[in-house]
Symmetry: C2
Subunit: 458 residues, 2 copies
């Protein structure tokens, strides 16, 4: 099995495993207690905090351990917003943040706050000017990821931090995807991260709040972790998480070069091997191990199943994966194709031959899925007079497939009206038009769904 | 080292350690993913949930895993209160709940809710009639621990649940101290517990919400754990926690008898071995492994240090322990002595000889602390005319020691006025009067503190 989903969770690093085992014996007691076992636990926790702070580039007393990266984000966003309540009730996030950030923003909005989403370009990157333009006198907090979790695009954090600093607004960086590769540059104010992304165990996140940043923890009081992370400290897991962070950092420079070469192979060869593929994300400013592409006329869930049968674990931001029926908000914000989406995220140590095998297998798998769905061959084009494509009640990627099948029959200059009640069509029909060089005219309400209008240009 | 603080955290059970190791290999991936590693993780999580539900006595889909017992309580209380917001904004708790419950109540009160604290008797037990009397038409939730964490007193949960059920009010049971010993009896609605109390690893709590109970999770949305516990699931720790629960349950009946005999030895012999000791908590309806006593004229922190030097890890609800300067709210609610407080909580497997050694060592340790503090010999009594004891600026247990030293000089029927600015005196001077059969007349404001008035009866 080739596990290519490190951006979801990395397998436990051998060093983390060793550290976990060792600290199960010394780290189980309550570190707040005065007796020997408590003091041992406290020493382990203090040492882990020092080491984590060094890796992050902050003071030990600025860093607390949380039960997950998600909780670090929830706590960080809520605490920073509450700490600056007097300044105002305005929050800035990018449109491609992790769901933990966007859900925090929703809660804030429901409680009367105002949220500005900074858009991204087609590579998934924000512009510092986007944040600059969004800053207001009543902005309490800005949030930006260090790198995108779905497409790997690295964000201009240092520049955005500078813009925020100039306005006196704290910037919270969600460093979940990048902290294993190196510290986050720039003058940020808060930082959140998640250990299982860098080969640490589950159950450990970290939250850094720089000295001088106003912060008011929300929820019931608790004396542990400076009052910022309630509940008994998970010391063996914390020790393992930090040991793993140090271990991956020691190999980071070398491993980044190696993985970058492997993902570059995928970036360049997939579009040659598979017709009608769009590789998304920034080709240069990106995480070393992540590459994402979307395959037209393919349903993401089936594609994942077929790749799993071939021994590859990847993930998908497609609208067609089981956990959700709405397309990835990241791909949507980028304005790129969401159907048949595949994210390959290589864990450190991935062998070159595994990537080669993936490239060998992929074309056949995609072709097989397309054949099952009755997708049009990518070259065949004919002419006939069709105007309405009724795809009501059909799920992604069928509406686009039906559009493509009908298209050859449309005269140049003619219009196709695709009827669909599937939410993904709203994203994928315009994306298809862009890929095919056809004109997307817009949508209008229709009986039982929406009509999407496309003009044939050639 | 004899570790007698299992009520804080139990050492990792060997079965938990094995299960943790085994599931580190199969349980690290994202259980929401469709590929093989994700499915393996999902199967482990599902199996753990089934087993935990069986041990609790609930349906698997009623149980979620949280990052700690504290988080289970926070989530459970907030979700249940929000779920019944339309019914009203009244919460009932006992006066001796864990701080996670009381802090949840504080947050609720700060947001405009109303909280009734049900008092306890001198053993630390609530009366079902206390809950019955507190229930109102606008009561949204009642909370009661299954057993008290500081004195081991078992609460009448089934009776209180019945009273609440009759009023249509859900009861949340904090089962942290008892779940390892057996399921919680009665018709409760919600339940919270913590794995490291039964020999599971840190980082795992559980929250049960019975079908039909209105529940609205608070905070940012997250699809994991039925939307009730945000963040990546900690599957290896969950598997280990449940394996340990099953293991301790298998030995529970036998081990309960054994530990009950050991704690009974402490209950009966400590008052004979050490003068001026009050053993607190219910002598019969109590946890098998917990026994708590308070030593007059002793400072809890010094006592803990001395016991640690002798190789005993115990904890204290004294006002004099380092983490807090206010006396334990539990001892305060019970109206018992708080100074020189020691909680012995034996982990399963504690050897009888360790308890014997504790009983050998304790009298000398207490006498040594008392000598250092200049406490009066417990028998010596004389007669002289003294009325004011100035203990301003002196910390617990000095004010009581000064009172006791002055007392022999007070004529029968005469009054002592103890001046003190230490918060613990408010609790400990009345407790001293009760232990000594003297009359406590009350307190009044005085220059620089408070005057506590005691009449000598004999």
């Amino acid at each position: 099995m080739s596990y290519f989903d490190a951006a979801s969770a990395a397998p436990l690093h051998p060093v983390a495993r060793q550290a976990l085992l060792a600290s199960l014996d010394d780290g189980w007691a309550d570190p707040a207690r005065l007796y020997r076992e408590g003091r041992k636990a406290r020493m382990l926790l203090d040492a882990a905090r020092e080491a984590a702070a060094e890796a992050v580039g902050c003071r030990a007393d600025e860093l607390v351990f949380t039960p997950s990266g998600t909780r670090a984000v929830h706590t960080g966003v809520a605490g920073a917003l509450a700490g600056r309540r007097r300044v105002g009730r305005h929050l800035i996030v990018s449109a491609v943040e992790h769901s933990s950030v966007l859900h925090s923003a929703e809660v804030f909005e429901a409680a009367g706050g105002e949220v500005t989403q900074v858009p991204v370009d087609r590579t998934g990157a924000v512009a510092p000017s986007g944040y600059e333009g969004a800053l207001r006198a009543d902005t309490a907090l800005a949030v930006l990821q260090s790198a995108n979790h779905e497409v790997g695009t690295v964000q201009p954090v240092a520049e955005v931090a500078q813009v925020c600093r100039a306005a006196g607004v704290p910037l919270l960086v969600d460093a979940a995807q990048s902290l294993g590769w190196g510290p986050v540059e720039g003058d940020w104010s808060l930082l959140a991260a998640s250990a299982h992304k860098w080969g640490g165990p589950s159950g450990v996140g970290l939250l850094v709040v720089r000295k001088g940043v106003r912060f008011a923890p929300q929820g019931p009081a608790d004396e542990r972790e400076s009052g910022r992370a309630p509940g008994f400290e998970n010391i063996p897991a914390v020790v393992a998480a930090v040991a793993s962070l140090r271990a991956v950092r020691a190999e980071a420079a070398q491993e980044a070069l190696r993985l970058r070469e492997l993902t570059e192979r995928i970036r360049t060869r997939v579009p040659r091997l598979v017709p009608d593929v769009e590789v998304v994300g920034d080709p240069r400013r990106r995480l070393p191990g992540v590459v994402t592409f979307s395959c037209l006329y393919v349903d993401g869930e089936t594609l994942l199943h077929e790749l799993d049968r071939e021994g590859f674990a990847v993930s998908s931001g497609s609208s067609c994966t089981s956990s959700t029926l709405t397309p990835s908000h990241v791909l949507k914000a980028m304005g790129v194709l969401s159907e048949g989406n595949v994210r390959v995220s290589l864990p450190p140590g991935t062998a070159g031959e595994d990537v080669e095998r993936f490239l060998d297998v992929l074309p056949g798998v995609v072709a097989g899925v397309r054949e099952k769905l009755g997708a049009p061959a990518s070259a065949a084009v004919a002419e006939e007079d069709v105007t309405v494509v009724d795809a009501l009640g059909r799920r992604c990627p069928i509406p686009v497939i039906e559009l493509a099948k009908a298209f050859p029959g449309v005269p140049v200059g003619g219009t196709v009206r695709v009827l669909s009640d599937d939410e993904a069509a709203r994203l994928d029909i315009p994306a298809w038009c862009e890929m095919r060089g056809q004109e997307y005219l817009g949508e209008e309400p229709a009986d039982g769904g929406t009509a999407y209008l496309v003009r044939r240009l050639g």
